[in-house]
């Protein structure tokens, strides 16, 4: 798999962070690790939403049974990094997410992610979520695609 070069403001989904840190698949890990390292170096502006941070934490602990101290390092590293942009959602975002959900038939999680990105005018995301591509106004870069 080829190295991905990102520029500008790009949202990062939880599957990218998980595959970058955890030794699940060496091929995916290499690509995802480079994406994150470029972000930590400030080569582009990685964006993470509070929703994704929560889902990431939950998945690392509940699904992959990663030690809580390690989860803390992963999540706090992203939170504390000055290169990462952290965005939050509000009640208005949730309302818009429900609209997107009924219009496109997406899950609430994906709809909330789209609504948050829309609110901050973020037009690109690195993600392996299949349903994200249904929404036409956000460009999805899939690092797991061969």
């Amino acid at each position: 798999m080829t190295r991905m070069r990102l520029s500008g403001v790009v949202a990062i989904d939880k599957d990218v962070v998980i595959n970058a840190y955890l030794k699940l698949n060496p091929e995916y890990r290499d690509v995802c690790k480079d994406i994150l390292l470029d972000g930590f170096s400030g080569l582009y502006t990685p964006v993470i939403t509070n929703q994704i941070l929560y889902e990431l934490l939950e998945e690392l602990i509940s699904r992959y049974r990663v030690d809580e101290e390690i989860v803390k390092i992963i999540v706090n590293g992203i939170i504390m990094s000055e290169h990462w942009m952290k965005v939050n959602y509000t009640f208005k975002t949730v309302e818009r997410a429900r609209e997107i959900q009924s219009l496109y038939g997406l899950s609430l999680s994906t709809s909330l992610l789209i609504a948050t990105l829309e609110e901050y005018s973020i037009k690109k995301i690195v993600s392996g979520r299949g349903d994200l591509v249904i929404y036409p106004y956000i460009e999805v870069v899939n690092p797991f695609k061969k």
Binding site: A20, Y21, L22, K23, L24, R29, K33, L36, L37, F40, Y64, R65, V66, I70, I73, I74, N76, G77, I78, M80, S81, E82
Partner: protein, 90 residues
Amino acid sequence: MSVSRYSETFSLSHIFMLCNILLYIVKKTVKITIDEKIDQEFRDLAKKKYPGKGYYSRAVEEAIKQWIHREKKAYIVYRSIELLESGVDL
């Protein structure tokens, strides 16, 4: 003027004096050597921000606190990147 409840034993000036003693006990005197130009620039800015007595100590304390905060943050990010490089075994 005195504090009515303790008027017989404590006046406000006594309380103020006690506070100063307490402050002296919990604070530490530090001797450092730094570049003269940096010191002058720092003093000028500190004087503007905290006019009056103790401006230098206040500004130095604030600068040290900020430095500690920044270094702690940088260390957390460093550990996270280190973990990213090495990977987490499952």
